[in-house]
Symmetry: C2
């Protein structure tokens, strides 16, 4: 994607907003200091955001003898945002104020006979109506609905969803939703939503070059360059789950062999567990339950669980080491439910393998950490797309 | 790296220059059409470059009844640029005019007792003096000397070279050169030089998201995002040679196992040849000679050579497939001497493996091709850094 001075202005405005959200109330001087922008640029951007009702003046602070400095904050009630996470098992709909604090949340289950586009649209619409009614938010306050989809959300001319697990090909989900919802719709992939959440609210705030490794049933690596999402030619960048880990290794559902996903995605971890103990009582019918059982056994020091996580951490560490060599990022964040469940055991286990594979020089300049966002980063990231979208209009 | 509106202006100016170099003489209207910039922006940038003596007005063209359009061209004699490629075996020094046409070239051999920083500096200085004298170019015309180094050229505060093969650690090569040469010095890595050459003069001209795979003794993947080099946190992005190809595979000199370089770098290809036929007459003492012998035998249909290249192409294809999935680029260019020697056999051999490993959607949007630059792309890229550097000063 080509960048213009308008992109730069948007990027600067988003960076100012991120800091206001993180540390309201705050002065223009402090914003200039933390963002590295000039005071004039900050004052100009803050002026625009005050005019548009996103920010509000909230008083003054002493500045040690100088003129008192005006303080600004997000105008929390100035609008509402909705973030939707369409996942494997359910649709998670969250309503946020402009500080991205959760006002309400609705969960709509998905069952395997329920996965046609029209049915998923019905679930999303139902969740949106529920949260607005329960929180008594007038629809006119809603600035937009961000929707995160699993699978690929491709941009070739128009936007379409490709989700092979659900047999979705070129589904125009945005149009389907726009026909049922009166709000602006911002559709993107789960990987992009997870990555933007880290940039705005998580481990990557203020960072330039970032990789967000998401570990679920599928596996991805969201990339940010210069503090901005990297999308690639058709918005499918980050399909790291289908990078090679082992030549002619495990068969992947994509048709190739040895993909990273077949080792460190949930089904891959379960394969490792089965290799170690084919009769393990941790092996349950559902993959979410199995990973939960593994996490519980791990906390009790069960040797099969320990060995399963040790091998998984080694696979993951070697693959992450390759990413460090290729992309030389400032920070790598581990996100999504498998990372949350196995957390510190995975993180500490992978450090040795990373050191084994990454070149010492880029490794020195990379921090590796777990996603610090306490709630669902995907619906939060989706709502962030709605905030970015609502602000995308730039004053002439 | 963080981008500012000044970076955007530089990027636009570089894009205008690339098109002028490619298709002089050219009108402002045509430049606006090919770059997608407004006519006002193009006129402004062209005005700056005319003032600075880089461009020159060369007449008018008819515009089918409208006002005649002014034509501009590079002012070829308005300055000179020097590009230096410090390689494994020699220092290649090229003198260019402002259209980046070669005026003269000097080759200084490097021998294994000759690899201390002071000795390499002496070779570079000698080559620079030689080309200037022979071409009778006044030193005052030289806008800068770009120097490409093998190994890592790191930016952490200041710039230093790390070349483990030569036992160079934190060598301040730019300072050493600046003490001996009166010109501005622009130091960068071979990978960055190869990539910028493709952006300006090669297969990536006009492209946004690009990967340049360099195949030599070492292996790398230079990355451009939004038409600009991606450097990473400390300028070491692109160390793709040390991505994983096979878990616990061949031992790499970096200390890890199974790195891409150990399969598709020249010594890796020779290892494959030796695995197939330990007594092959193609196995010569020097790795350059061996790859040459392999290329000759390949052109005669020698079955050992065919099998060696078939396996190499498969390794390369699977690894490039991983890159396509991760980065979703518009174009992948194969560069450097191993790619040049094995050329079409490698390219056609790898297509099957790429299709085997890359996801169909990103693969559809990626072109894969050989470097089309007829001369040494590394010294050309180094000279391009000098041109970019000389223009980095922006009018207030």
């Amino acid at each position: 994607m080509k960048r213009t001075s308008r992109d730069i202005r948007r990027g600067n405005r988003n960076e100012v907003l991120r800091h206001v959200i993180a540390s309201s109330p705050v002065s223009r001087q402090e914003l200039a200091a933390v963002t590295g922008l000039s005071l004039a640029t900050v004052a100009n951007l803050v002026g625009e955001l005050l005019d548009r009702g996103v920010l509000v003046e909230v008083g003054y602070e002493d500045s040690e003898g100088g003129r008192p400095r005006g303080l600004i904050a997000m105008r929390a009630g100035g609008g509402a945002l909705i973030g939707v996470d369409v996942g494997e098992l359910r649709v998670d709909v969250e309503l946020f104020d402009l500080e991205l604090r959760t006002l309400d949340r609705a969960v709509e289950p998905l069952t395997s006979d329920d996965l046609q586009p029209e049915q998923v649209v019905r679930r999303i619409v139902s969740g949106v109506r529920t949260v607005l009614e329960r929180a008594r938010i007038a629809p006119s306050l809603v600035l937009g609905v961000g929707v995160s989809m699993l699978g690929l959300v491709e941009r070739e001319g128009s936007l379409s969803v490709y989700a092979p697990n659900w047999n979705w090909h070129d589904v125009r989900l945005r149009e389907l939703l726009a026909a049922r919802l009166e709000f602006p719709i911002y559709l993107d992939s789960q990987l992009m939503a997870s990555t933007v959440a880290e940039l705005w609210f998580g481990a990557a705030r203020g960072c330039q070059d970032v990789v967000v490794v998401t570990l679920g049933k599928g596996v991805g690596a969201g990339i940010a360059i210069g503090g901005t999402l990297y999308r690639g030619a058709t918005n499918t960048a980050g399909e790291w789950g289908h990078s090679l880990l082992e030549l002619d290794g495990r068969a992947c559902k994509c048709g190739a062999m040895g993909c990273v996903e077949t080792y460190v995605g949930a089904p891959g971890i379960i394969k490792t567990l089965r290799d170690i103990d084919p009769d393990s009582p941790m092996l349950l019918e559902d993959c979410f339950d199995t990973i939960d059982a593994l996490a519980r056994a791990l906390s009790k020091g069960d040797p099969v669980a320990v060995e399963t996580v040790r091998r998984t951490a080694r696979y993951l560490g070697v693959a992450v080491g390759s990413l460090i060599n290729l992309l030389n990022p400032q920070v790598i964040v581990l996100s999504n439910w498998v990372a949350t469940r196995l957390a510190d055991a995975l993180l500490s286990g992978m450090r040795e393998a990373i050191a084994e594979h990454a070149l010492p020089r880029p490794l020195e300049s990379t921090r590796i950490m777990l996603c610090p966002i306490p709630n669902n980063p995907v619906s939060l990231g989706a709502a962030t797309f709605a905030l970015e979208g609502a602000l995308a209009w730039v004053r002439p």
